[in-house]
């Protein structure tokens, strides 16, 4: 019964537990030796070249400016890195939203009964998915922004809302108050919408009425947004051409536009394939049941098929979001000051390369972990609860 008698009978060189620990320690030793060798090389090399290995450079002045950012070049490097991180998040969040919308539309179009729509969607997906992303980034910069977009004096003015020129794309945007306040208002409104929807659903479970969750949630969202909007004095301005620049609205830099465009176009093609696969994975009976209930084709898609398809799509979608965030580092290739380019510039201005890039990588890994954490939570909430 006692393990001691067992090990007494088995010699220790044949005892599985001893062997497994010996094996693990051996592997650990090998890994440790390799790491120590690398670290030893690193310290001796940096010592010889007199390069600091710590992180004290973070407090040195950055001595470079970030395009379209009020940060002064005398601010410490860590401020520049923080601004770079914000830029990474900006292009990632915008890219994720637009890529999802475009991707879902194209994914649905790929299964459309309409031959023209189906074929166009297929050509789009097959053409974009198999082409490297940097090509789109350079295409957006060299061909679209520098080749197709007009001079600022002859800027396009679609719908009277946008100003498109080779100096960037200006869009209507709010003015007054800080961005964080607006973000907070949106978060509160979203929370209110969620609570309202939950309340409606619970109520509908008790009584027999229809919940109308969507309308109620939308109403709550709009109400809180309006109240917050006026309470904090926000307003929306439309950009206008003023000589050689634009006033009002928000101007997206050409570099932002290029990386944003490329990320959306590229990621949408992958998302479209995921959406298509997930829709096809929904059992056929579900669509037939929707038909039997005489739902319209729109209702059939939005009420029956897509909610179930999205459940299947969440994990791979999360992967695509992670890819998009990591791919935003390509902005560095065309001069968009996100985390990578800020790090690269800081290294060029004297920050030690190894700690600087290690820091950048650590930040990316942290963003990835947070994102995949959110995706896991969403997945768990949406997962089918089997009886």
């Amino acid at each position: 019964m006692t393990p001691t008698t067992a090990s007494a009978r088995t010699p220790f060189w044949r005892d599985v537990r001893v062997l497994s620990w010996a094996f693990q320690l051996a592997v650990l030793a090998v890994v440790g030796v390799v790491l120590l060798w690398l670290y030893g090389n690193y310290t001796s090399n940096t010592e010889r070249q007199n390069i600091p290995t710590g992180f004290s450079w973070l407090d040195n002045p950055a001595s470079f400016e970030i395009t379209d950012n009020p940060m002064s070049s005398r601010a410490p490097v860590k401020d520049a890195i923080y601004q770079g991180l914000l830029n990474t998040l900006r292009v990632s969040v915008a890219g994720i939203i637009f890529a999802t919308v475009l991707g879902v539309l194209i994914g649905v179009a790929r299964l459309s009964g309409n031959w023209v729509l189906r074929t166009l969607a297929k050509v789009y997906v097959e053409a974009v998915r198999n082409t490297p992303l940097p090509l789109f980034v350079f295409f957006a910069t060299l061909v679209i922004v520098l080749g197709v977009f007009p001079e600022i004096t002859q800027a396009w003015n679609p719908l009277g809302l946008f100003v498109v020129s080779n100096r960037g794309v200006a869009v209507p945007w709010f003015t007054g108050g800080a961005g964080w306040t607006l973000l907070a208002i949106f978060a509160v409104a979203g929370l209110a919408a969620w609570l309202t929807a939950r309340w409606r659903r619970r109520r509908a479970d008790r009584t027999d009425g229809l919940p109308h969750t969507g309308w109620w949630a939308l109403g709550a969202f709009a109400l809180l947004l309006t109240v917050g909007w006026f309470a904090f004095g926000f307003s929306i301005t439309v950009p206008e051409v003023d000589g050689r620049r634009t006033t009002g609205g928000m101007r997206m830099l050409p570099s932002f536009f290029a990386i944003f465009f490329a990320l959306v176009i590229y990621t949408a093609s992958h998302i479209a394939e995921i959406v298509r696969g997930s829709i096809q994975a929904v059992p056929k009976g579900q669509g037939e049941a929707a038909d039997a209930l005489a739902l319209s084709s729109m209702q059939r898609m939005t009420r029956v098929i897509l909610p179930q398809a999205m459940r299947i799509a969440i994990p791979p979608l999360g992967n695509q979001y992670l890819n998009l965030i990591k791919n935003s580092s390509l902005g560095a290739a065309i001069g968009y000051y996100e985390l990578t380019l800020v790090t690269q510039t800081a290294v060029g201005n004297g920050a030690p390369a190894v700690p600087a890039f290690t820091l950048a990588m650590a930040i990316y890994i942290a963003i990835s972990l947070v994102t995949s954490g959110i995706v896991n939570i969403a997945n768990r909430r949406m997962a089918l609860v089997e009886r």
């Binding site: 497994s20 094996f23 693990q24 320690l25 592997v27 650990l28 890994v31 690398l38 090389n41 690193y42 001796s44 090399n45 940096t46 010889r48 009964g113 309409n114 031959w115 023209v116 729509l117 074929t119 166009l120 097959e126 053409a127 998915r129 198999n130 082409t131 490297p132 992303l133 940097p134 090509l135 350079f138 295409f139 060299l142 061909v143 520098l146 080749g147 992670l322 990591k326 791919n327 580092s329 390509l330 560095a332 290739a333 990578t340 790090t343 690269q344 290294v347 390369a353 190894v354 890039f357 290690t358 950048a360 990588m361 990316y364 890994i365 942290a366 990835s368 972990l369």
Partner: protein
């Protein structure tokens, strides 16, 4: 079904559907017109023709080009042989009919490879020397010969020694060819589209051992091994490849002894290998999870040692189950080789394409669309062909339908 019924069902089921057809049909026709007009009339393709050699092989010295030709012919022969080998295996297992007329076989093969063949023909027509034609003819002959010999080997039982020799030969070919070429021209002289292909090929071969070890490590019950594997895989998967390449470009020399100075392509291969290994490990882990539990138990019941259980029973099934995903990883690695140019200034296709727009004859003419379209076509053709083959394989393996 006649044309009228087809149009009714696929184009004009309802009024909104009809509107949709007309609007998007017009859009599609407009884009098609623009594309064709650009390709045949407004595009200025002289820049491609003048720089074809640079785009394909970079600054590789002309005197040593025959070595590249030989390696291309060897690789084509291998590709043909493997295709024939697989066919032989299928005939042996009764999954493919043994007697198909040669004409039909050729037609079926052309149906699968017409796209790369067309693009190669286009490149040959653009070239002004005889060398590429000879290479292409040699490669076609080698591929055909391999394809005809392959079935005879495939039908036979190979035994363990034979199989090992075959696998090792396939894996060693890129490395042997590397030594064959590098003895003439140093690694730094390589470039162009050839470098993209080579980086992808070598990195995928090199990442295998590490990927398999990491996958096994992650599934291991030994806590230390598992932790090491998880930390490695998640750290690599969380970091952008672009930043890793930048790090390798500026900082790799800090981690090796002072007298070692790795060349740029070597640095790129190190990064691609370490990076892809983490993704490969996750794919192989999926394959390991798809092997039924009974296989593990049966292997143990046969009294095999743990190494043999894994090597002879589990891994072969696991790797076979995820072949399409592995090809997907190869495709994405191939597309990512462009990053080596962007991050390290390696002279691969896109970097060459960018550089030639700055040449004296072409400067200031805004030729970026032409060079980007050409490089895009090359990347797209290779990636699209691979992805179509992997879809074919997926259908044949019946992944998702079993």
């Amino acid at each position: 079904m006649n044309a009228r019924t087809w149009a009714r069902r696929n184009l004009f089921r309802s009024v909104p559907d009809g509107v949709c057809t007309i609007v998007f049909g017009a859009l599609g026709l407009f884009l098609l017109y623009k594309t064709l007009n650009y390709v045949f009339f407004t595009g200025r393709w002289t820049i491609i023709q003048d720089n074809l050699k640079l785009l394909m092989v970079g600054r590789f010295p002309v005197a040593h080009l025959p070595r590249l030709a030989v390696s291309a012919i060897v690789l084509a022969g291998w590709a043909g042989f493997l295709a024939g080998f697989v066919r032989g295996r299928q005939i042996r297992d009764g999954k493919a009919p043994a007697h198909v007329s040669l004409a039909r076989r050729v037609r079926a093969a052309l149906g699968r490879i017409w796209l790369p063949c067309t693009v190669i023909l286009l490149l040959l027509l653009l070239s002004t020397t005889i060398g590429p034609w000879l290479t292409a003819l040699g490669a076609a002959a080698a591929a055909l010969a391999g394809w005809l010999i392959g079935p005879f080997v495939g039908k036979r039982r190979l035994g363990r020694a034979g199989a090992t020799i075959l696998v090792l030969a396939v894996a060693a070919t890129p490395l042997v060819l590397y030594y064959y070429i590098v003895t003439a021209v140093g690694f730094d002289g390589w470039g162009g589209f050839y470098l993209n292909l080579y980086l992808a090929l070598v990195s995928i071969v090199l990442c295998y051992p590490l990927g398999v070890l990491l996958a096994l490590g992650r599934r291991s019950k030994l806590p230390l091994i598992q932790t090491i594997s998880i930390v490695y895989i998640e750290a690599i998967r969380g970091a952008p490849l672009f930043v890793l390449l930048l790090l390798a470009n500026t900082a790799l020399q800090f981690f090796v002894p002072a007298d070692v100075a790795p060349s740029k392509p070597a640095r790129a291969i190190v990064v691609f290998t370490l990076f892809t290994a983490a993704y490969m490990a996750e794919i192989i882990r999926g394959g390991l999870q798809s092997v039924p539990r009974g296989q593990f138990e049966a292997a143990r019941a046969l009294g095999l040692s743990p190494t043999r259980q894994t090597g002879l029973i589990i891994l072969p099934q696991a790797l076979r189950n995820v072949i399409p995903a592995q090809i997907g990883q190869l495709i994405s690695l191939f597309k990512d080789t462009v990053l080596a140019g962007v991050a390290m200034g390696l002279f691969e296709l896109l970097e060459v394409a960018d550089a030639i727009t700055q040449q004296g004859d072409f400067r200031g003419q805004r030729l970026s669309p032409e060079v980007l379209a050409f490089s895009g076509l090359l990347f797209w053709t290779v990636a699209y062909t691979m992805s179509r083959e992997s879809q074919r394989l997926e259908r044949r393996l019946g992944v998702g339908t079993r």
